[in-house]
């Protein structure tokens, strides 16, 4: 059982970690499925994905659930602590959005692509 302050130690999350936790919010997934969903928020390759997953496993936000038959696909799920952290980070971001709106910052339906 994590203490009330334990999940706060992990905040704020990096965009990559937030995207991975969010991808796992609706159930367990394997690495490639996590990457495909996380890419809706942030550019991510296998190195960033598995490096982040390794850190999330070490800090107990994510747990491994098992292998596929050929043992080349591991499945991951959010832990209870991971759920808490994701909820707290989402709340934090929602408060930021609320503050931005109160200052007249418009929320676009689509993020404009940056020019390179």
């Amino acid at each position: 059982m994590s203490s009330p302050t334990a999940f706060k130690d992990h905040l704020p999350l990096t965009p990559a970690v937030f995207a991975i936790l969010l991808a796992l919010a609706d159930g367990e997934k394997h690495g490639y499925a996590i990457m495909l969903e996380a890419r809706q928020h942030i550019a991510m390759g296998p190195g960033t994905l598995y490096g982040s997953i390794d850190r999330l496993l070490a800090s107990g936000l994510v747990a491994e659930t098992g292998f596929t038959d050929d043992e080349r696909r591991r499945y991951y799920r959010l832990s209870a602590l991971g759920h808490q952290v994701l909820t707290a980070e989402t709340t934090r971001l929602a408060q930021s959005v609320k503050r931005a709106r109160s200052k007249g910052v418009r929320v676009l339906t689509r993020v404009p692509e940056s020019r390179s």
Binding site: P46, D54, S59, R72
Partner: protein, 267 residues
């Protein structure tokens, strides 16, 4: 790990060997499998290769930093001590080197005066002609002379002395008179104990002198201002001080990083 047939994937499989061994053992198969799926899905080879290469480089650096054992504070302190002594050594050696280099040209000119001209020294006659002792004289105390950093013989003065050490002629003056170094210098030049010496005729003037006995029993003393050489030493010491400061800041950072790493893992 099955070796892929596609050259880009084969290259990626090789790059996976660059990850720390524990990370590679745990994730290499999954990473390669993910890259395979990604390759099959990509519309253009470059759209697959460029982001994958960038991601691999970034994550390689990150994973090696994670895998690196935090530096022990005692190792950091030992390095700081070693680096400090190293920089002190570099400073002392370079100061000596620059000081001795300032003797080179005066020694050369004094050698030309004190030895008879032969075929070998003929090419250097121009150097002596440039040192016409009856021509215009350098005023040693002038800033123009003191700070002359021209890397040729223009900055060298030469004075001839008799056997008793009295100035006879020369192409430099000190406050209007021929410079007169302490008489002890001539005794030492005659006995062969020294041929180079630093002379400080007054505050703010430091000269590198080179003296040679002449066949007629007199002496030739050549010299130049040490101000340019000392300015170079000061510039080098300033760079070394900044290097030391950055190194000490880096050591403090490493020591703090080590303490932080031993306390709590971060996501």
């Amino acid at each position: 790990m099955n070796t892929p047939t596609q050259p880009r994937l084969r290259l990626y499989a090789l790059a996976l060997h660059l990850y720390p061994s524990a990370f590679r053992a745990r994730y290499a198969d999954e990473m390669l499998s993910t890259a395979r799926l990604e390759y099959a899905r990509s519309s253009h080879p470059l759209r697959f290769t460029a982001p994958l290469a960038a991601d691999t480089l970034r994550s390689l650096l990150r994973e090696h930093l994670r895998a690196a054992k935090p530096a022990s504070p005692s190792y950091v302190a030992a390095f700081a001590l070693f680096f400090s002594f190293l920089l002190i050594g570099v400073s002392v050696v370079s100061q000596q080197f620059l000081r001795h280099r300032a003797d080179g040209m005066p020694r050369f000119i004094a050698g030309l005066y004190s030895t008879p001209m032969d075929e070998k020294s003929e090419p250097y006659r121009k150097q002596l002609v440039a040192h016409d002792l009856t021509g215009p004289k350098h005023e040693i105390s002038s800033p123009t002379f003191l700070n002359n950093d021209n890397p040729n013989s223009d900055q060298i003065f030469a004075i001839l002395y008799d056997a008793a050490g009295h100035a006879l002629t020369g192409n430099a003056t000190l406050h209007g008179a021929l410079p007169q170094p302490p008489s002890g210098i001539f005794n030492e030049i005659r006995s062969g104990d020294i041929d180079e010496v630093t002379w400080r005729p007054e505050p703010g003037i430091r000269l590198a002198l080179s003296g040679h006995p002449m066949p007629n029993g007199g002496f030739v003393v050549t010299g130049q201002s040490l101000a340019p050489s000392e300015a170079r030493t000061a510039r080098l010491n300033s760079i070394l001080r900044w290097m030391w400061l950055f190194a000490m800041l880096a050591c403090c950072f490493l020591a703090l990083f080590a303490r932080r790493n031993t306390r709590s893992p971060t996501v």
